[in-house]
Subunit: 432 residues, 4 copies
């Protein structure tokens, strides 16, 4: 039998709190899960610094990836079954893409990518196509197979329906993470009737669409997403931790460039500071390694690096205040000046951070939309974009909401305000 | 106002998936949570290697500790309120002991303690009484306060009722971990009606007892515990990971003692290898650091150390087979001999492991019982030991159940069996 | 001790799937629950005919009433405690009003009230103030006490805060029924974080308001309500059952007025047909009695009454089609004409039904608003109406959505269409 | 196409709180659900009088029947698929038997059968084979089909595996009711991992067996059942209500036999009193009818009938006390005598009631076992009876536990004890 069609002697299952069980019959899927690049996802948290606010959110990208696979497997094996001919090759491409869509994520992805100007999607492609264990498994299916999987994830695969299952505004990725993140944080948002959505999903040439009768279930899903963004993903305290993380990496880079002598050398980071890194350097990183560095660096001579590391490790985060960049840019300037006068480096200790989300986006002609809009399939068979039928979705679609915060070390200022009138002045400006 | 009695200006809550919210009003509790020794528990998993089987089990000891605190807080503030006079001092001692009972746990506690012959309970005491942030907070309550908290955890505190809330066969520790571990693994065991148990718990001089009408709820709790032990805690695959972990530490120690030159020096371990460690050495450890070492050591020259680390990091675990030490000890001897002849060191690659549990233990006169038995309070007021009333508990009480497994690297043997008849012979003995 | 202050010797609890336990300490509350008028609520379903679509929805108004009580009890005893002085009298008035707010509901309330032109709120008042067991209990608290409870329910009680807990747009009534109806139907809507809402609720002179930080939890609650209305409460199939129910009562009344000789006399209904009923007649009714009549009436000679009863009892409901009353009123006229020609009485077999809801209503000056708007309490202490801060709520507030359906017996028409071209013509008009 | 093989144009689903959705594709199943005999199950509560203790337990036999069908459908369509050839006929027989296994249950089954010496299983057979709507549907599949379905339910069907899915110690019936009753009562017992049990179930010639690896899941299921029996099904308060119900029916029969003139004639009961009833008389009954009679009979002249009815309707139940029939039979005699002297008829007001359960029964050679024991399939393929492998199951298997209670009207005795020393004496004997 061809490797592509090999089944395990007995179905394997993973116990999963969200989907109860994750089912694996295909030998290829089993082998992919066993590769070091996939196992590495166990050492990268799904929600980065969020566990510092919602302590349950310690879950890794490993099971989110399994979850996305399971949803797509159900769509193919149960949902669409009998509705559309999937040739076996296409089924496997889709399952692998679902499983591997987040493979390129690095430790504390967002901050890490920002500081080193990286793109995890590019790494996903490189891991799939490079000299890796996962590439070796995929290549056994067929020489072109790794490229096909990469194309689905890169959204250039010719079969648009397949792409839409993994990247659209109602894809398996989002359906898994909303439920999973809600479960592990323990919040009551994030619930929606996925069973119903899977039942009303219909394949078309271009994408999966939703039977009209399922509109309310989709509304509920969109609202869940909206709530999760503002209540969990953009929580100001986890953003504070992320701000500090970013500044640690910045500081280490700056020190390195200034030939600072580290007590504990940034061995794993050098190639990133120099931009000479290779794929293996990236794969070797994970969050345990970053946390180890941060702990060692607490003992560095540089006061900024050691302070920031102490803050991150021991959760002594920055406080925040609202600010409006459009009207208060001058105030920022003044504050920066005051920080400098007070001997606190504003580059590390006065940080503006913005979060912004578009809860649902309809298609705007002429613009390229990152994610496909959601279409309802009317009784007549005709397709209609969701926000035309749903008042609620219409109300929030296309409306970007942005939240601006200014982060600063209130503890330092409070402790010093007696001795230093500048500290007092800064505090008054920030909190007044 | 005395520090002991200080309240936060507004109650703080932690969102918790198990108890919904964890409530903090006392300034002391808030300050204890903020110490580095307590925050360190975020970097130590509650269930060690279990996440390699139940992928959801990535949760840390940090929230289990908060959970135990919350249960004890509810017992004191709601349950027993009006039933017994707690003076404020005693209430705070109990809450702190609940919160801090696991403070001394190290990374992958079980394996680490075994290899270095340590005792986490001793470390808990040392952290409470030593020169630490947590000691500084507790001392602000009163000079004797840290010792009192340590005594409750050490079970030498004079008020036995207080001790029983944290260490008995139906204590807040067990009630939290059963529910929490069930939630994060996603298994359907581990549920019991804690609300009911809290409602039927009654304080006596010696310990908390259970109103007779709550007997079935307690039975259900005991059965949950039994199931969790055999289905989750003693799962043979997570024991395989633990076996490998133990052998990694053993190997590193042996190499160190043999003056092996490490590419990546065991800086954090030296004082443990030498038994010259101080408290700070211990506190500085966590699981991110161990995982970092294991990843670095994959590149060591020593083939055993690098192989074992590769296995742990990439989840290439040992297979297992049942064996009976009483009747098969000779077989082990033969196998060890064969391993040696085949060039595989049995000290690292043929490992016997046993798990054993006493699901419930009644009191046996003359013997010291580690944990107090559970007493039912009959309608007459009289106390009666649980297993006298419950058939089910009687059936399992005092009966130690032990499971013996032999772990070995099936992959090596399978790959080599064509070229080496010894491998084949070993495999036949192990699997036949 | 005064009856008002009497406590039960031991707290009583009801096991409740929604709130886990419902706690009763007050003797008055316990006694009210024991009255025949309150126990009667066990024989009236919370959701009328909905169980014919969502089979789990067989739950009665009895536990919804307990649930509302429990929420209000928690608000008073936990939430607001320490924030506002409740004198004991006021506390008990509020708890009784919560418990008794639905006391006047009749069997299949909506249909019954419509046919007989009744108002359950009026009956609630009469039961509280009339010669009933519940009145006797309340009067023991104080002569004026029954009137006070009635005033809270009637929204004329001087303390507006008390009223708002039971009738506002975010009251205990709605919070209980959304969760309870979601639980029993099994739908995934209806969930919101009530714990959080209770924590951010603040008493003011006029009403309970919500701390600004809880805005998202309130949004989620409003969306849950919106979804429950359209997915559950206005489900077209349960409306079909309600249409039939209404027509059964209409027909029986008409037959009675036409001196039809019933095989099974409408003993319980006569006083309603005649409008000579007394309070006792109303209290004596429940859904078991209506179901008994409907079963007996299946054997009546009158073909309309027996057919409608057969339909209701055996769930042979009418089909429905959308229609627009504004543009299609002529079509209705034509259809009625065709029904008559075909020998099918359109008064019973062609029924227009509309459902309409205002998901959230802000305050419109000059108009009397049925339910108070929701206010957020900003950091400054100032109050701000919810829809000003929330985009989502703004999008749906004040917008009445209406759904019009036309109900008809498709089965009769389908079966007869071969023999009767009129049937065919009717079907084509209805379904085309 | 044959009726047997007809599928619905689109799968229909029922929203179900326990199984999320219940799926129907077969036209036959859909038609059976639509019959009046099946719809009648909506008017019969699954747990009889239990709702008077656990208020959520108002659910009907209708959805339990759907639930059993759904579990069997999953076993056949998913679980055993590929493992055993089901011919289509056998599949449909099994599904229908699952759906219809409780069809013969009457209103408040247990009490009703006891008083009139009936057997609901016999009625199930008669409804399947008699002149009914359900028989008409089944006959369309094949002349022998109704008999086959009846044989499965009657346990005489030749294929023992089919029978075992519906009647064994681990059948779909029990798996559904444990979970469903737990859900609707809200208790935390009754949960077990059904998904896992379905996965480890294996078909054999004689019955479905369980793979050895699933033993703990089965233990958990057995313990759930044990807890549900003692915590819910045998709750002394719902037994009190059942005692009263039984006595109402007894009294009405006795009055009828004594030619008492009823104000409200026992029209529906006469044929049962006379034992002249026909199938239609039985099918016409449901709980709404019984509740209607009880309400009417509250106004009867006979003081016993009216009192008992008042008690049942308004939940003024009897109190209970423990007693041991083996040692206290004389006390009962004395009490009966005292009741007579005090003018209280002991035949209605002093009632001994026993509940008894065998939590799990192994096979005893020579005895006929009502339910098949559970077999584990060992790695070798060999079967081993469960209690041989499981300590816990062994501890409770074959051990009948019985609970004896004596029910009496404490309220009457308490109210009268001042005026009547006999009342006082009775109370002392009962409560002392």
């Amino acid at each position: 039998m061809e490797y592509r069609d090999e089944k395990l002697p007995e179905e394997k299952v993973f116990k999963d709190p969200v989907h109860r069980y994750i089912h694996v019959r295909d030998k290829v899927i089993w082998d992919v899960i066993g590769t070091r690049e996939f196992q590495r996802l166990r050492r990268i948290k799904q929600l980065g610094t969020t566990y510092l606010v919602f302590h349950g959110a310690e879950h890794s990208r490993f099971h989110h990836s399994l979850g996305v696979y399971e949803i797509v497997r159900r769509i193919i094996d149960d949902g669409f079954s009998g509705r559309r001919e999937w040739n076996d090759d296409e089924r496997l491409v889709t399952l692998c893409a679902a499983l591997l869509h987040d493979l390129g994520h690095g430790p504390f992805s967002h901050a890490f990518e920002k500081v080193f100007d990286l793109d995890h999607e590019l790494f996903t492609q490189q891991i799939l196509l490079g000299d890796t264990e996962v590439n070796a498994v995929l290549k056994r299916v067929g020489t072109e197979f790794p490229q096909k999987v990469a194309d689905v994830i890169g959204k250039t695969y010719p079969d648009k329906l397949v792409v839409s299952l993994i990247s659209s505004q109602i894809d398996a990725d989002r359906m898994d993470y909303l439920q999973r993140d809600a479960y592990f944080t323990g919040v009551s948002y994030g619930h929606f009737d996925m069973e119903r959505i899977l039942r009303v999903m219909r394949p078309t040439e271009e994408q999966a669409v939703i039977k009209y009768s399922g509109m309310h279930a989709v509304e509920d899903y969109i609202m869940s997403r909206y709530q999760m963004y503002w209540q969990v993903y953009f929580h100001p305290v986890s953003r504070s931790a992320e701000v500090i993380l970013t500044k640690i990496l910045h500081r280490a880079k700056q020190l390195y460039e200034a030939s600072y002598i580290f007590k504990f050398e940034p061995f794993h980071f050098k190639s990133f500071f120099d931009r000479t890194f290779e794929l293996e350097d990236y794969i070797s990183l994970d969050e345990s390694i970053l946390l180890t560095y941060f702990q060692m660096w607490m003992k560095e001579v540089d006061p900024i690096l050691s302070d920031l590391c102490y803050r991150f490790i021991n959760r002594k985060l920055f406080q925040h205040t609202e600010f409006n960049p459009a009207t208060e840019y001058r105030k920022i300037g003044e504050l920066e000046q005051l920080f400098k006068e007070a001997g606190i480096d504003p580059a590390y200790y006065l940080v503006a951070d913005s979060s912004s989300d578009l809860p649902y986006d309809f298609y705007r002609p002429g613009e390229e939309s990152e994610r496909l809009p959601i279409y309802l399939q009317m009784a007549t068979g005709e397709l209609s974009e969701l926000s035309r039928s749903s008042d609620i979705v219409d109300a929030i679609s296309g409306k970007r909401r942005t939240d601006h915060k200014l982060y600063f070390p209130e503890d330092i200022l409070e402790q010093g305000k007696e001795g230093n009138p500048l500290y007092k002045q800064i505090l008054d400006m920030l909190k007044g």
